[in-house]
Structure formats: C-alpha cells, structure tokens
C-alpha cells in the first residue's frame, strides 16, 4: 500500500494540470496514475483544429502535447505511474490498481478523478441492425491511425455532425479513406462554419434529421439504411463511424456507488470540484461532456489548487445543497454547493447545457431571490456560463428556473461557446 497525500486518476490535461497546481500550492506527495503508456489522454490522438490538420495532412500533433505534459509533471515532482489501471475506489480513500506487476493499493488523503469522456457506443445509441465488424468511434479510429498505423475501413458512413465529426472526416481523408456521407440524427448540424464547409469542399453529402433504420452486414458492415424526409435510403459502405455524443467515463464512480450527477453523467461535485464523498475531487471532461483540452487544463488547475488548500483543513462535514434545475436545462456543473466554503479557487461559474434549441428566460434563484437572469435563445451545443453570486456558500436553496417564451420570435443569443 502506497500513501501519497494526493492521488490523481487520469493523466490527460485536467489530471496533469491538477497535479501541477497541487504541487505548486504546497501539496506534499502527489501521485498521478495513467492506464495508458503515455500521458496526454485524448489529446494524444485527437485534435480540434481540423483545418490545420488538413493543411498538414496529419492528425497526430496532439501526442507532442502529451509528452510536454509528462515532462512538466515529472519536473514538478509529481510521481507519474503509467500503465496503472484503477479497478476500484474505496469510500475510505483507498484505491485498487492493476499494473504489469499485478495488483496494488493506494491510500491517499485526497483523490482527484480526471478520467475524461468517451463517445457513446453503438449500444448506448440503441442503433438497430446487425453487429458486424467496422462500427467504430472517432476515438478508436484516431487511436488506430496514430498509434498503430491501422485503418478500420475505406468507405465509412459518418454518424454525427459535431466538431469531432469533422475532425474524423479529416482523419479519414488524410489516410486514404473516403467517407460516403455524414448523417445527423438531430434537426441540424451541430458544428458551425467554417468547419462545416469541409464536407461540401470535399464532396461528402450531409443529411440532417435522419433516423438510422438498419445496419447491414454479416461479418463486416455492408450498408446503412436510414430514413430521411419520409424516404428510406441505402448507402453501401464498409464501416460506420460513430462520432461525438460524449459521455463522462464515470464507471468507477457508478461501481463504487458514489453520487452521480444524472444530468451530466459525471460525479456530483461542489464549488471546489469535491464529490459527495469529501475525500474525492473531480475535474475535466469527467464532469460533463465535453470541453476542449485547454478548458480541461484550466479546470484541472483550479480544482487542483482548491484540493491542495483543502489538505490543510478538516474534511467538511454536513449536507451539501443540491442545485436544482428545470427542463430544458440538461445539466448544471457544479451541482452541489457546500456551506461555508467560498468558491475561489474552485469554480467561479456554473456551467449549464440545454437539451434542445429553445427560447426563454433562464434565472438563478437563491433562497427565493432571483440573483441572475437572462432571456434569449439557447442551443444544446453551446455552453452557458452563469457567474456564482457572492455569498453562494451561505445559500440554503439554489435553483435554475426556466420559462420558455411562448412566442419564439428572433432573440439575441446569449449563450457562449
């Protein structure tokens, strides 16, 4: 059993930034566990600058960032252990780990989870049809290309139209695969210009508002059937690329019975990124799907700093206040506020997402008083940031209320990306 002061699970941008910040704020022994052979997380194979990639004809430059993070962490005195896969979280701060040598244990004063997010699988999307080879996510595609020089298909249908979907198009084109079409099940594409020019420029047809009705293929994908404007169309292809629709990688929390934020799919956290179990913290895309590597890094830094200060205080007791919200608000992070703890240096804003494109008034009510409100149009693909009012840590009741505008005339967009 190893006994660091701080144990960080996950070596992506959020985890490394948290480790660096904790060390900088005076935390003693900081150990970072990463199950892959290198640090960097999704940035090792994934990038969101597709035009730069198109010009370079390469998608791997994220790996250089991982190497830099690793060097920074080691230089800051963080004990970095790669190839270490956490298999169980104990409520008492003990953690079980498997590594090449077998099973080991850690007992830390505080644990920070930064396990990131992944794209929804075929099963979670409830896609119909056969289950042949050739159905992969962008993450699997880009890791296959970047780490193994392997291409899982030549003529995929791309499902999804987020930023990452367009990154997937670039990955395909740069390696000799030719996407057959881009299909979006929502009413409209989720990325915006200039990214969305890419399919048109490269001659890839795009359809929105589709419903996948069948995946056909006995051993490998042979065709995708979908409904579009009341008609069934069939696309011959040799793969289906599932893009976007990220979900937090929260399996360890689910299995250890920790409190889940049902809106985000990640852990419930308070204004310091602290989980319902006060020995645990969380940061990065584990908290919600999904922000950039840069955002995750800044978030990890703030939570790592808060965690280091927390080491010098007794573990908070008492009930946290749950942040309420109405439909069509999909998620609020943080969704807890612990009494008596000022937000700084943790979160200074609530992060919200909407389930659908709508207009109306969003209001933050604290102890029955409206402390913030805004009317406008709210889109599901955009993050909404609401500053935490001064004194929020003394509130007994916190809720986001939404009144939908009966008249959906044009209104300015206040949400921020």
């Amino acid at each position: 059993m190893s006994h660091p002061d701080v144990l960080i699970v996950g070596g992506g941008p959020a985890g490394v930034a948290a480790a660096l910040a904790a060390r900088a704020a005076g935390a003693g022994r900081v150990t970072l566990l990463e199950r892959e052979p290198r640090l960097g997380g999704a940035t090792r194979h994934c990038s969101h600058s597709p035009f730069g990639m198109l010009e370079r004809g390469r998608v791997y430059f994220g790996a250089a960032w991982g190497a830099r993070l690793e060097r920074d962490a080691r230089e800051a005195g963080v004990e970095v252990l790669t190839g270490h896969s956490v298999t169980a979280l104990g409520a008492d701060g003990t953690v079980e780990v498997s590594h090449a040598g077998g099973v080991g244990g850690f007992a830390a004063r505080r644990i920070l989870l930064a396990t990131g997010a992944r794209e929804l699988s075929r099963a979670q999307r409830l896609l119909p049809g056969d289950r042949p080879v050739g159905i992969v996510t962008t993450g699997a595609l880009q890791a296959s290309l970047a780490f193994h020089g392997l291409l899982p298909f030549r003529r995929p249908v791309i499902l999804g139209s987020e930023l990452v979907s367009h990154s997937a198009v670039v990955s395909c084109l740069a390696h000799g695969a030719r996407p057959v079409a881009m299909l979006e099940t929502g009413p409209a594409r989720l990325a915006r210009a200039p990214v969305t020019w890419l399919p048109a420029l490269t001659g890839i047809p795009v359809r929105s508002g589709v419903r996948i009705v069948d995946i056909i293929g006995r051993s490998r994908v042979e065709a995708i059937r979908f409904e579009h404007r009341g008609r069934i169309e069939t696309l011959a292809c040799d793969g289906l690329l599932l893009t976007g629709r990220f979900t937090p990688e929260a399996a360890l929390l689910w299995q250890s019975g920790q409190r889940i934020n049902r809106g985000s799919g990640g852990p419930s956290v308070d204004q310091h990124g602290r989980c319902a179990n006060p020995l645990y913290f969380a940061a990065g895309n584990l908290l919600r799907p999904i922000e950039t590597g840069g955002w995750s890094f800044r978030e990890g830094r703030a939570i790592g700093h808060a965690l280091a200060l927390d080491l010098q205080r007794p573990v908070p007791e008492g009930e946290a206040v749950a942040v309420g919200y109405d439909d069509p608000v999909r998620l609020v992070v943080p969704d807890l506020v612990r009494p008596g703890i000022a937000p700084a240096p943790g979160f200074d804003r609530f992060q919200l997402r909407f389930t659908r494109d709508c207009r109306g008034r969003l209001a933050l009510e604290v102890d029955g008083r409206t402390l913030w409100q805004r009317s406008g149009r709210w889109r599901p693909e955009r993050r909404v940031l609401v500053p935490m009012p001064a004194g929020i840590e003394h509130a007994g009741q916190i809720a986001f209320r939404f009144s939908e505008a009966p008249d959906s005339s044009e209104a300015p967009v206040f949400s921020e990306d």
Binding site: R58, L127, G129, V133, S144
Partner: protein
C-alpha cells in the same frame, strides 16, 4: 465406448454450437474419432452466441419430457465437471416474480410442477419475504417462488472447454465448413465446402439449420425450424448490486418471458424478447424494443433506472413447429438428430451429448475402447467470481480497460488449440471489447494484436508512407 468403422471418422457432428461442442466431447471421451464441422468462422456462431446464460434446474420444463430429463442430466454433469475444465457457476438462485394478482394465482401450480419435476427446494414467498431476498424489487411485487438451484454460468467458456477437451482427445474441428450433402452407403460421405468427409455416423446439431441439414443428408426431417428472435440489453456493472438474483417472470404458454439476470461477468442483462421470424441468418436489434427492455428493467427493479447500457444483442432460438425437443435416431442410416433445442440448450448440452452417445450405442457395431487417460484441459476464467488474470503478476498490460483483459490473455487465446476465427470469437474467449466503451479505448490495440489472425480483420495497415510519425 463407440463402434468402429473403416471410415476416416467414427462420428461427424454438424454444427459447433453448445450442443455440437458437448457432443464432440462426449464421443471423444468414449473413444470415437470425431470430426466437428461448423459453417461459421468460429464455434458458437449461431444460436449459442446469444442466450441468457442460465444453468436451469428444469423446474418449469414439461413434466416427463425428454427436455426435463436432459436439462437435469446436463446440469448435474456440469456441476460435476466444471472445476476440472476451469469453469465456474454463480449460485444466484432465481425468483419467479408475480406482478399481479392473476400471476400470483398461478404460482401454486408452477411450484407444484417444479416439485413434480424433482426440484424439492423451491419455496413460495410473500412479497415481503421475496424483497428480503432481493431488496431492489419494485413495490408492485405480489409474491414469488424462490428456486435456489437456478445458477448463472459463462455461456461461451463452457462450450469452448467441451470442444477443447475433444481436441485434446484427438477430435478434428473444421470451421468455415458448410455441409452441402450427405450419402449413406453403410458409412456416410459428407460433401462440404471444404471437401469430402467419410464418417460412420452423422449427428445433426445444426441448430437453426437443423431441418435444412436433415434435408441435405437425405433424411426426411420430421420437424421445421421456426426461428424465434430474442433481443437483450446488457447493463453496466453498476447494475449488479441491484440484481443479486435471477428475476424470472411468470411464464406464459408460449414463452419463458423477459428475465432480469445477473451475469457471471458482473453485468445485468434484460431479455429476451420472443419474436417469431422466418429469417435464420439475421438477428437484428431495434431501438424501440431495446428501449422497452431498458424501461422494463427499471420498472421491476427501480435501481436500474438511469444505469448506462453496456451492450445490446439479439439471438435466434432454434425452436421448431412443436414446443418439445426434436431428438431422433435412425439406426439404418446411422444418423442422430438433436433438433429443436429451443431455449435450454446451454443447460441440457451435456445431457444431450450423453443421450447421443447412448442412441449411438443402440446402432450396434464393434465398440472402440475408451481412451486410457483424459488429458487435463482447462479454459481461462473470465468470470468475476474467480481470480482473473489482471490480478496476477506479469500479465503484460491491460488492453481492454472496461473488462480488464490483459495482453497475456489475448495472446493466449490467439495461441490456443482453437484460436478465435473472428472478432466475435475473440470477444467470447477473452471479453475484450465486450465492456461499456465497446472498443472506444482498445479497438486500435486489438486490431494491432490480431493482425492476420481473424477471418475479417479489424483494420488494414496503412500503405508505406502513410504510417504515423508518433
């Protein structure tokens, strides 16, 4: 002991599902020279790849039926041999749950049938007692029958172990080998997609194609396969704490109904549906049914609500135009048919295998001596109730993080006596890619580790000059 023939093989078994694999083992143990032929790229390519993984007691089988006799015999043999083969079982027990007064009124009759079937330890429970056994059951529960002997097993490692033992005893397994026709002239000549095979006796264990194979053998089939599709939803391992017991419904006249069942791998599955279809090749899932199954699970066990889905799948049960097994032997043609094994094949397989050996003895002929010593064969444990490889030193690394599959396990499967023929076979042998991310993290590694080893490769190598720089 089995009879001798001058042909190349004593026994040709058509179909490497769980019944074919068990039958290969039993005949090989009896000293027969066995060939097992399978149309698919791997064993368990048909009905046996998708089931609910329950080792049944037979409490609800038709009294006096061959199915009851063989389920009981198969189960007893499994419990006798499992440890030697590296297999295990999870003694979950089952609760037959009545969710309405009408269903509750039928429990007495079900319990009486179970006792008549020789299952003495089942007990009628009121709702409170049933919820003490499984606190997660919804408040709408009326009453239940506890059947302590219903267990959960690994449905793929068991047949793999049977066929591996047959291989160790000298059996031949031919995959990608479709039976085209058969002619009997005292011995059988089987024409297959991989050439002719001579065998003394043929055993039809072709599952979904049982009637078609009978026709190709020139035997007039006395049954017609009526495929019945079952869709399943597999819930994340977080669901396991809510479902320690198999939750069975009160069965209807036509189906055992939708089960909520812990798996030996630590998940919970909800299914199967019972959808009649003519199609035998395709078992597709559909979104509406999968949502229904997910909602059904949450209604009966409220703790399952919101728990993420790990996998979805569909299988076809090789039912026939009658409810019972269609088992027959034709001595003058030296042919045995193990057909219409609708939904209890996993439990009854070893019983069916022993039954086939007995039927064959009735054909007469000079017996072959049984092999002196049966080689020791054990398959790797994949269940969560026994130690896994990731808990042992020097496993190399974990490749599939969701299911904690090590590189050593994958390499061992690829180098085993019966390496996986396709990705499905690798998944069933190791659980790699079976977990919640369904390959998001590990597909590239798996594609790399399986280069050149699978009938349908996971990926192709980039051309020279296209390789990554990192």
């Amino acid at each position: 002991m089995t009879s001798a023939t001058s042909a190349q093989f004593d026994i040709a078994i058509v179909g490497a599902g769980v019944v074919g694999c068990a039958t290969a083992r039993s005949f090989a143990r009896a000293g027969a020279r066995v060939v097992l032929i399978e149309r698919g790229a791997d064993i368990l390519s048909g009905a046996s790849k998708a089931n609910s993984a329950i080792l049944h007691t037979g409490f609800d089988a038709p009294p006096g039926s061959l199915e009851l006799e063989l389920v009981r015999a198969g189960r007893e043999e499994y419990l006798r041999i499992h440890r030697d083969l590296g297999l295990t079982f999870v003694p979950t027990g089952a609760l037959v749950c009545a969710w309405s007064a009408a269903e509750a009124a039928r429990l007495d009759a079900i319990a009486a049938q179970g006792r008549q079937n020789g299952i003495g330890d089942l007990a009628l429970l009121d709702a409170a007692a049933a919820r003490r056994r499984m606190p997660g059951l919804a408040a709408t529960l009326e009453a239940a029958i506890e059947v302590p002997g219903e267990y959960v097993i690994d449905p793929w490692s068991a047949p793999l172990a049977y066929v591996t033992e047959a291989l160790a005893l000298g059996a031949t397994v031919m995959r990608g080998c479709e039976l085209l026709s058969g002619r009997f002239d005292g011995d059988w000549t089987l024409q297959t997609s991989r050439g002719a095979i001579r065998a003394g006796t043929v055993v039809n264990a072709a599952g979904l194609f049982g009637d078609a194979v009978a026709t190709r053998l020139g035997l007039t089939p006395d049954f017609a396969i009526r495929p019945r599709k079952g869709q399943f939803v597999v819930l994340d391992k977080a669901a396991a704490r809510h479902v320690p017991v198999i939750v069975l419904p009160v069965p209807s006249e036509t189906t055992k109904g939708i089960v909520i069942c812990p798996t030996a791998f630590g998940n919970v599955l909800v299914g199967p549906t019972a959808e009649e279809q003519d199609e035998r090749e395709r078992a597709t899932v559909d979104a509406g049914t999968l949502s229904m199954l997910q909602a059904h699970g949450g209604r009966l066990v409220p703790g399952l609500r919101g728990i993420p889905i790990t996998a979805t799948y569909a299988g076809l049960r090789p039912g026939s135009d009658r409810k019972h097994y269609r088992v027959s032997a034709t001595a003058e043609r030296r042919a045995i048919t193990l057909g219409g094994i609708r939904s209890t094949g996993l439990s009854a397989a070893l019983g069916l295998a022993a039954h086939a050996v007995r039927l064959h003895a009735g054909f007469g002929g000079a017996p072959r001596p049984a092999p002196g010593a049966v080689p020791r064969v054990a398959v790797p444990n994949l269940t969560e109730t026994q130690p896994r490889d990731w808990q042992r030193p020097d496993h190399g690394e974990i490749v599939c993080h969701c299911e904690l599959v090590t590189r050593r396990e994958i390499e061992a499967a690829l180098d085993s006596p019966l390496p996986p023929g396709d990705f499905g076979g690798l998944r069933r042998r190791t659980r790699a890619g079976m977990g919640r991310c369904q390959g998001f993290y590990c597909m590239g590694r798996l594609a790399n580790l399986t280069r050149g080893r699978l009938a349908e490769p996971l990926a192709e190598s980039l051309a020279v000059g296209e390789e990554p720089s990192s």
